[in-house]
Symmetry: C2
Subunit: 385 residues, 2 copies
C-alpha cells in the first residue's frame, strides 16, 4: 500500500486554526441580544444573488415590515448594509453639507458620537447637553433654537450608554416649528418601546439589528420623511460618502430599475426578514408591554439585592437597565464571574460611566422572566460567597 | 371546547408576510458565490458578545488568516464591518485629505468608483484610462507620474466589470519610486489568484467576503502597510467618516484595550473565520491552480458553443469570465431562462458593457467542474431549442 497523498493541502498552512467552539452565552448586555433559532435557521439558507428577483422580493418584504415597525409610511425606508453606527452616519451625511448648522442634543456616548459625525460633515455643531443619566429638557432645546437656525436637530431616543428614555414629541414639534429636520437615534428603542415616526414628526431615524429586534448585529434599519428626501434633493454638494449616498442606494431598494449599488449582505437580510416577522407576529404593542413587564420584574429583584437604578423613575429604558452596584462590590470582577462561571453577559459602563455602572439588557429575545431569574439567582450566589 | 386564543398576536399585523422559500440557486455570477455548508453552519452558531474574550480571539484568528491570504505581515490587517465598497471607501478616506492628488487608473466600473470616492474626499483626481476590456499599460502610469505628485496611485487588480487581470508589480514599483502609496482593489482576486501584498509593495488593499473567499457578502478584508499607517498618523484633518476612521477602528482590532467602536457583525465574522480556514486548508497555491484549471475548462467548452472571450489572452481573470454571446442570441432572455429553468445565475454586463456581455463567475466554491458542466449542458439545451 502506498502512502495517502494529499494534494489539496499545504501542510505548513493547514490545521493551525482549529474549529471554533464558543460558550453558550446568555446575552444580557447592551446588544447583541439572544437570537431566536428561527432567525439563525433563516440566516443559514444557501445564498441567492443580490439582484435575483427572489432577493428583490425579500428586500420589498423587509422594507414593508420596517415601515410597520417604525410606524411610518415613509417610502425611503430600508436597511443600511452596515451596523447602527453606519445608520447614524447615513442620516447625517445625506442631510448635512459644509456650513450647515446642526443642533445636537447630548446626554451620553451616542449624543457625542452624533456631534462628532456632524462635525466631520463640515457642519457647525451647536450642543445642548444634560448630565449623563438624565434626559434633555425640551426648554433647553427651545432656548437653543432661539439662537441658531439649524438644518437638523438630532437626539438619541434611548441612550444606550446611560439607560435614559428621552421623550421626543415636544422636541419634535419645536424642531418642525423651527423649520429644521428632526433626526432620531433609535438604535436601542426600535421594536422595544413605543416609537411613532410619522406621528412624532421624525424626519430621519436609524436603528440597529441586534438589540430589541434580536437579529445578528451588522445592519441598520432607517427611514426618511419626504421632507428629508426633499432636503437631500436640494443639496449643492455630493454626499461625502459614496457607500452611504442615498441618491444611489435608494435606486437599489426601490424603483423600476433596482440598480446595482453594492453587494447586499444577503444572509444578514435573510435573518433580518425573519426577525421582523417574529416582531410582527408578536405584535408591536404586545412586544412593548413584554419589555416593560420584564423591566419591572428585573428592577424589583435587583433592588432587593442592593443595586440601585441610575436613572430616575419615568425616564428609565425598559430594555436597558443602568444599575449602580451595592457598596463594596467590584463591578469588573463580578461581571467576569458572571461571564466565566454562569455564561451570562451584562454590559460595563461606557465613557464617563465606565467602572461605575452595569448595563443590563432585556432586549428582544433576551427580555424574558427566565433571563431575569438566571441573572438574579447567579448574583445571589456570587454575592453570598 | 373554547376557541383557542392568541394573546401574542395582533391579527392585523400577523401572517401577512410568510416564511421565505428561495430557489436552490447555482451562483455563477460576479458574486456572491456558493457558500460551503461548513460556513453556513458556523454562521448559525448562537451569538456571543462583540466584546466577549472569546469573540476577541475569533477576531485575532481572522486577522492572522487574512494576513496569510494577503501574503502580508502588515499589523493593520482586519475586516471592515461592511461590504467591499466600504473597504474601498475605508482605504481612500483614511489616506486622502482635501487637496491631495490621487492618480486613479480606470479600466472599468470599479476604477470609476475609486475616482468618485477620491473626489468625495476632496482630492484632486488625475485619471489614467484604458478601454474597458483592456488593462492599464504601465507606461501610461509612468507618463502621468511625470506630471503630478500624487499621494496615492490606485488601481483595480481584478476588474469585476470587464474580467481583466491587471499586472501590478511594475506599477507598484513606479508608485513607490514616486513616493506615493499604492492602493489596490482586490475584491475579486483575493483568494482566487496570486496576490502578494508585501512583495508587490502594496500599501492599502481591500477585498470582499463573497467572491473567491466564498463567505456571505457583507464584509471587507483590508490591509495597510506601515507606510500607509504613517501617512494616516500625519493627517492634518479628521477622517471624514466616523464609521471607517481607522484611528479608532484599529483599537478594537488590536492593542491591549480592545476598545469598543461599533458592534461587530458577530455572525458574519463566524462565517468569515470558517471560510478563511477552508481557504488555508486547501492551500493558497492549490486554490489558485484550481481557479486557473476551471477557467480553461470553461473557456474550452464555451468557445465550442460559439461564445467569445472579451479579454485578450494573458489578461483574463480565472474567476470571472467575460464572454460575448454568439450572434443572434438575446443575452437577457437566455440569462433569464438559465435562472428560471435551471436555477443558474450568471452575471449581466455592467456600465458600458451592459447588454453586451455575460460575466461568468467561477469563484471559490463555485469554481468546480460540476458547475461548468451544469452551465454548459444547460446552454446547449437552450440554444438547441
Amino acid at each position: 500500500m502506498s502512502e495517502p497523498t494529499n494534494n489539496n493541502a499545504n501542510s505548513s498552512e493547514q490545521a493551525s486554526v482549529s474549529e471554533f467552539n464558543t460558550s453558550r452565552r446568555i446575552l444580557m448586555g447592551p446588544g447583541p441580544s439572544d437570537v431566536h433559532p428561527r432567525v439563525l435557521k433563516a440566516m443559514s439558507t444557501p445564498l441567492i444573488g443580490h439582484l435575483d428577483p427572489e432577493f428583490l422580493m425579500i428586500m420589498d418584504d423587509i422594507k414593508k415590515m420596517v415601515q410597520r415597525c417604525f410606524q411610518t409610511k415613509n417610502d425611503l425606508t430600508f436597511v443600511v448594509s452596515a451596523p447602527g453606527s453606519a445608520g447614524m452616519e447615513t442620516s447625517l451625511v445625506n442631510l448635512l453639507e459644509p456650513g450647515d448648522e446642526a443642533l445636537i442634543c447630548i446626554h451620553g456616548v451616542f449624543g457625542n458620537r452624533l456631534a462628532d459625525v456632524a462635525e466631520r460633515c463640515g457642519a457647525t455643531v451647536i450642543k445642548v447637553e444634560s448630565p449623563w443619566g438624565e434626559s434633555i429638557d425640551p426648554n433647553q432645546v427651545k432656548d437653543a433654537l432661539q439662537k441658531c437656525s439649524p438644518k437638523i436637530v438630532a437626539i438619541v431616543h434611548a441612550e444606550t450608554s446611560t439607560g435614559v428614555l428621552q421623550p421626543l414629541d415636544e422636541i419634535g414639534k419645536m424642531t418642525r416649528d423651527a423649520g429644521a429636520l428632526f433626526v432620531v437615534d433609535a438604535v436601542t428603542s426600535f421594536c422595544g418601546t413605543e416609537l411613532k415616526v410619522d406621528e412624532w414628526g421624525i424626519d430621519a431615524i436609524y436603528s440597529g439589528s441586534q438589540k430589541c429586534l434580536s437579529a445578528p448585529p451588522g445592519l441598520s434599519p432607517v427611514s426618511f420623511s419626504d421632507r428629508a428626501v426633499h432636503a437631500m434633493e436640494q443639496r449643492k454638494t455630493k454626499v461625502q460618502s459614496w457607500f452611504l449616498d442615498l441618491s444611489m442606494v435608494r435606486n437599489y431598494w426601490s424603483g423600476a430599475k433596482r440598480a446595482y449599488h453594492h453587494t447586499a449582505p444577503v444572509s444578514a437580510m435573510f435573518a433580518m426578514r425573519e426577525a421582523l416577522r417574529i416582531v410582527l407576529e408578536e405584535g408591536l404593542e404586545n412586544r412593548f408591554e413584554r419589555h416593560w413587564t420584564n423591566h419591572y420584574l428585573l428592577m424589583e429583584g435587583i433592588e432587593e439585592l442592593g443595586f440601585k437604578m441610575l436613572v430616575k423613575e419615568g425616564f428609565r429604558l425598559p430594555m436597558l437597565n443602568s444599575v449602580l452596584l451595592p457598596e463594596g462590590l467590584d463591578e469588573a470582577s463580578i461581571r467576569s464571574i458572571l461571564l466565566n462561571e454562569y455564561d451570562i453577559e451584562v454590559g460595563a459602563g461606557l465613557g464617563a460611566l465606565a467602572g461605575k455602572i452595569w448595563r443590563i439588557g432585556l432586549m428582544g429575545e433576551s427580555s424574558s422572566p427566565n433571563h431575569i431569574n438566571m441573572l438574579l439567582s447567579a448574583l445571589k450566589e456570587i454575592t453570598n460567597r
